[in-house]
Amino acid sequence: MAGVRLSHIYKRFTGTEAAAVVDFDLEIKDKEFLVLVGPSGCGKSTTLRMIAGLEEISEGELYIGDRLVNDVAPKDRDIAMVFQSYALYPHMNVYQNMAFGLKLRKFKKADIEQRVRASAKILDIEHLLDRKPKALSGGQRQRVALGRAIVREPQVFLMDEPLSNLDAKLRGQMRAEISKLHKRLETTVVYVTHDQVEAMTMGERIVVMKDGFIQQAATPEEVYNYPVNLFVAGFIGSPSMNFISGHLSETGGDMVFKANGVNIIVNEGRAKTLRAKGYGNKEVIIGVRPEDIHQEPVFIEASPHSVVNAHIDVAENLGHEMFLYITGVGENTVIARVDGRAGLKEGTNVKLAIDMNKVHFFDKESELSIFDN
């Protein structure tokens, strides 16, 4: 097992002006499950492919363990990769698919047999070993692709959106399986995904990327609760965080945040920091997660200074929860996640309260969070 160190890595593709990956500097700890997440074109797959050796590094150094591997071929990096396509070798049966890498490395027949059977047992595919890929379902193929990687007992697993071709139910199942597998094998995993649910539930640490840059690298809780900038705040969380652009001002000794339909008092503790940082009379953006907007009368009564009156444009009731698409709070539609039994109807007006302890403040120009973690 080994950690991976990416030291100031850049990737520039011939014929393109902008670098696909810019100054990627990160240490992935041994046995860590690290998730690279971000929108299409953010450089996450390119970073993974550089670790795999499938893309050459334009600048910077890459270490697997203590070994500099910039110029080492993929086959000699002691990594195993699971791709999005998880294409199996169609002319080989499942056993042969899993055994192939070991056969190439001249493992003894008995060792190959032992490793393949053990991995097949972990993945619950023992009964499929004689089948050809064509006779397998999508989920089974995915397991075989994982098995092909596991048997090699590599120092690092690299996974590039391995679940994206599965249906939602199977994806949820495999998510849990891969997490269990990681705990069992105790191997370093670098996992690329678009899907923030995968990122939040599987990663011990998440790296959020945009335009080739690392935006934030932290635990899922930290990324969710303390996003460093507007991008991270908006990218992580579903439905996304609501952003309301407005003005901070002093009224009767209180710091007040004002925007279209919003006139709420900032908690004294936070107001103190905002004043100290020079935001006493400035435009800012506040970020409110949908679950931090409340409709319960008890909460509204207890938070008289953060109440807003809104109009429900759309109400989506999922049973256990309800999404309200409301207007009249800031310039754009705001989404609130409330109790599914609240009995709220679209087309009506509603009184809601914002949990001011959970509100995020962002600088309007730099888009960075004003509060440090």
Partner: protein
């Protein structure tokens, strides 16, 4: 031999900058002749306060490492000489010709194919003198492999052949067309070997689907077990003696088009590239004109997110729900993006007429405008 990694390592060890220079043998001999005393011309020499370490000779050129004389001690100089001697002798050993019949056949085929292509001939049967090899009259599955790795990751013929034979579990014919381009002729039995087996095989697979799955499998294996990034193309089975040349032309074309119009993809299937092939034939000025009339009609420059969105939208048959799912965005976000595109360009890609124009423009954009 690739001397670049050795140069880098020496620079690290000696803490002195080295360069690789080339000069003609005449220039080298002139320097050697001007030196006092006896000189082993394949060692090192000092000329104008510069130390030259002989590396190798290629035709009328001599290659050498060059370093400032003062930066190396005499002991270091001797050690470098010794190390270079060792590298050369090791390379000589490795280069001892052990050409098999197959390698000779591959070499003759390579020579013949390249000659025909150079003369502009694209369809011709292999001459009997070469085609006499029994394998060339049997049906084969042709692949073209293009390695887009850098020089220091070169691979040998034997290494690659062994890897492919282990993968296919049968003999193959491997023809190196260039340093990075390999033609692979696999057995026709590959197509039957990928059959389903006991369950789930009731759905009949077309030949093209079978070829594609072999190609995807081979790519995945190469990505993990070979030396670096590669591109692959595959064609319908052929009798090489009759149509190897035209197949090479077709496969080369597919890889070229794929690398031009489908950046980020590594498998290029010729039967999916009809439109790219057609677009490629359009003269450059016509392409520019078309772009001006479509995407650039209001100086519109699509960002990478918009291009990505449009590409997926077309790939998924203009299906909004499927595209949103594939892009991990909300359906409304996708509709918003498409509306934004409509506002900025006047094209509503949900209408077939507009979609056709934009699809072509997006393909051409990659070769005419994208920076």
């Amino acid at each position: 031999m690739n001397w670049e990694p050795i140069k880098l390592k020496l620079e690290q060890i000696l803490n002195a900058p080295l360069q690789i220079v080339k000069m003609t043998t005449v220039e080298w001999n002139d320097i050697v002749e001007g030196l006092p005393g006896e000189f082993h011309w394949d060692r090192s020499l000092v000329y104008n306060q510069t130390l030259f370490f002989y590396l190798y000779r290629e035709g009328s050129l001599v290659y050498a490492f060059v370093v400032e004389e003062v930066l190396l001690t005499s002991a270091e100089r001797q050690l470098v000489e010794m190390m270079l001697d060792f590298c050369r002798s090791r390379e000589k050993k490795a280069a001892v010709p052990t050409r098999s019949d197959e390698e000779s056949l591959a070499a003759s085929l390579r020579e013949w194919i390249l000659q025909q292509i150079e003369m502009g001939i694209e369809t011709k049967e292999i001459p009997d003198v070469i085609a006499a090899h029994s394998g060339l009259h049997a049906i084969k599955v042709p692949f073209l492999l293009y390695g887009s790795y850098s020089d220091h990751r070169k691979t040998s013929y034997l290494e690659l052949k062994k890897l492919l034979e282990q993968f296919f579990d049968s003999g193959i014919l491997l023809i190196p067309l260039s340093d990075r381009e390999w033609l692979i002729l696999g057995s026709e039995s590959l197509l039957t070997a990928s059959g389903g087996g006991e369950k789930g095989s009731e759905v009949e697979e077309t030949q093209e689907e079978a070829l594609a799955s072999i190609c995807f499998g081979l790519y995945e294996m190469m990505a993990i077990e070979w030396v670096g990034e590669c591109h692959l193309s595959i064609a319908h089975p052929i009798v090489p003696a009759k149509s190897l040349l035209s197949t090479v032309v077709q496969l080369r074309g597919a890889i070229h088009l794929g690398r031009t119009y489908h950046l980020g993809e590594n498998i290029h299937l010729p039967w999916l590239m009809h439109l790219d092939r057609l677009l490629h034939l359009i003269p450059e000025d016509e392409k520019e004109k078309f772009m001006e009339n479509v995407l650039k009609r209001i100086d519109y420059v699509p960002d990478s997110e918009m291009l990505h969105t449009l590409e997926h939208f077309f790939e998924l048959d203009c299906n909004v729900s499927e595209t949103a799912k594939k892009l991990y965005i909300h359906r409304n976000t996708l509709l918003y993006r498409l509306d934004k595109f409509k506002q900025e360009t006047g094209f509503d890609v949900r209408s077939f007429k507009h979609a056709v124009l934009v699809k072509i423009a997006v393909s051409l954009y990659k070769v005419t405008k994208r920076k």
